[in-house]
């Protein structure tokens, strides 16, 4: 088998490399979420873009939605298909010893990692007032299905965080600080594992 030095690989939410994937009124950047890319590249991460589940399911002109609206058998089956499409690449990274992390999109009903948007009574005519949803500390539907697919393949959990773009009011400086702290803590944990090969 070809030998290669372990790499640092960041799985990134689709829209962090392509803001055209965002729901209408959700694109905070023209093209790429540049602070995320800059921070990851400066720290030597290889970027692996994940597919966007909402774009291919509900389209580019989809309505805003919350977790409960996407929590359906058909959408979960769609997410599993996407997970099966990208999982072989992720499995390859993990099996050859690369360090893999995941940067999702906090507040997203699909790609949220630490937080998702929730409102159990959303539905029907889309005339809800702005901010009429809650932020809940849980994964979005797509991240749940992606992690389940990786687990089915016997792969370890991938350390993950989210860029807080979909939390209602976007605080770029705060999001950047969060990301840097996550990467610092991950680097410290990886360093400790390297010093102690018996550590999990």
């Amino acid at each position: 088998m070809e030998q290669h030095a372990p790499r640092k690989v960041a799985l990134v939410a689709n829209c962090l490399l392509n803001q055209n994937a965002k729901v209408c009124q959700g694109a905070n950047y023209r093209a790429v979420a540049s602070p995320v890319v800059e921070v990851l590249r400066r720290r030597g991460y290889t970027l692996q873009q994940l597919p966007c589940p909402e774009l291919a399911f509900a389209g580019v002109r989809r309505w805003w939605a919350v977790y409960e609206q996407y929590d359906t058998p058909a959408y979960r089956a769609h997410c599993r298909r996407l997970a099966q499409a990208i999982a072989p690449l992720i499995e390859q990274y993990l099996r050859r010893g690369d360090e893999v992390i995941l940067i999702g999109l906090d507040g997203s009903p699909s790609t949220g990692v630490r937080f998702t948007s929730s409102q159990p009574d959303w539905g029907g005519r889309p005339n809800r007032p702005q901010d009429d949803w809650e932020i809940q500390p849980r994964r979005g539907v797509w991240i749940e299905e992606l992690e389940a697919e990786l687990a089915r393949r016997g792969l370890p959990p991938v350390p993950a965080t989210g860029w807080a773009l979909d939390m209602g009011r976007f605080d770029e400086a705060g999001a950047r600080r969060d990301l840097e702290e996550f990467l610092d803590s991950h680097a410290a944990a990886a360093g400790a594992r390297a010093d102690d090969p018996a550590a999990p």
């Binding site: 803001q19 055209n20 994937a21 694109a27 093209a31 290889t46 873009q49 002109r61 499409a85």
Partner: protein
């Protein structure tokens, strides 16, 4: 929510241009930076190999964009099989979805790096949908903004 500032343009880009190997980096322009400066989002293509299901997933996304007023181009790299664009697999998938194949530009490693970057930037700047299509889908053309 803030005003939506999406650029309405994107490019299919091989993994080898997004994550060039250290040995290849000096011979290539920073393609991600050129795309970003040009207002192009990225649709990342996988490294060489099969990836049939992933290509189908990417083709679904390209079709959705192309049917709704977004401009999709492709930026390959010389020296990779099929310029890294998986064209043999991707082209039939796009045709099957009723999509014209995106215009292609190929980056040449080892050429004058600054000139290659400028050549890519000029290709990106010169491509978009016709103004009437832009107005139909986007309300205003890029030039109006």
């Amino acid at each position: 929510m803030n005003a939506d500032v999406r650029g309405w343009r994107m490019a299919l880009v091989p993994d080898a241009l997004i994550n060039p190997l250290p040995a290849a980096r000096a011979a290539l322009p920073d393609v991600l930076a050129v795309l970003e400066a040009g207002g192009y989002g990225v649709l990342q293509l996988p490294p060489p190999g099969g990836h049939g299901l992933l290509l189908a997933v990417i083709a679904d996304q390209v079709a959705e964009y192309a049917h709704h007023g977004y401009a999709v181009a492709a930026v390959g790299v010389r020296g990779q099989p099929g310029d890294g664009l998986h064209w043999r697999g991707l082209a039939p998938l796009l045709r099957h979805r009723g999509i014209e194949l995106p215009p292609r530009h190929v980056v040449r490693p080892g050429a004058d790096v600054a000139a290659e970057g400028a050549r890519l930037a000029a290709f990106l700047a010169g491509y978009d949908l016709p103004p009437e299509e832009q107005r139909r889908w986007r309300g205003r053309t890029q030039e109006d903004r």
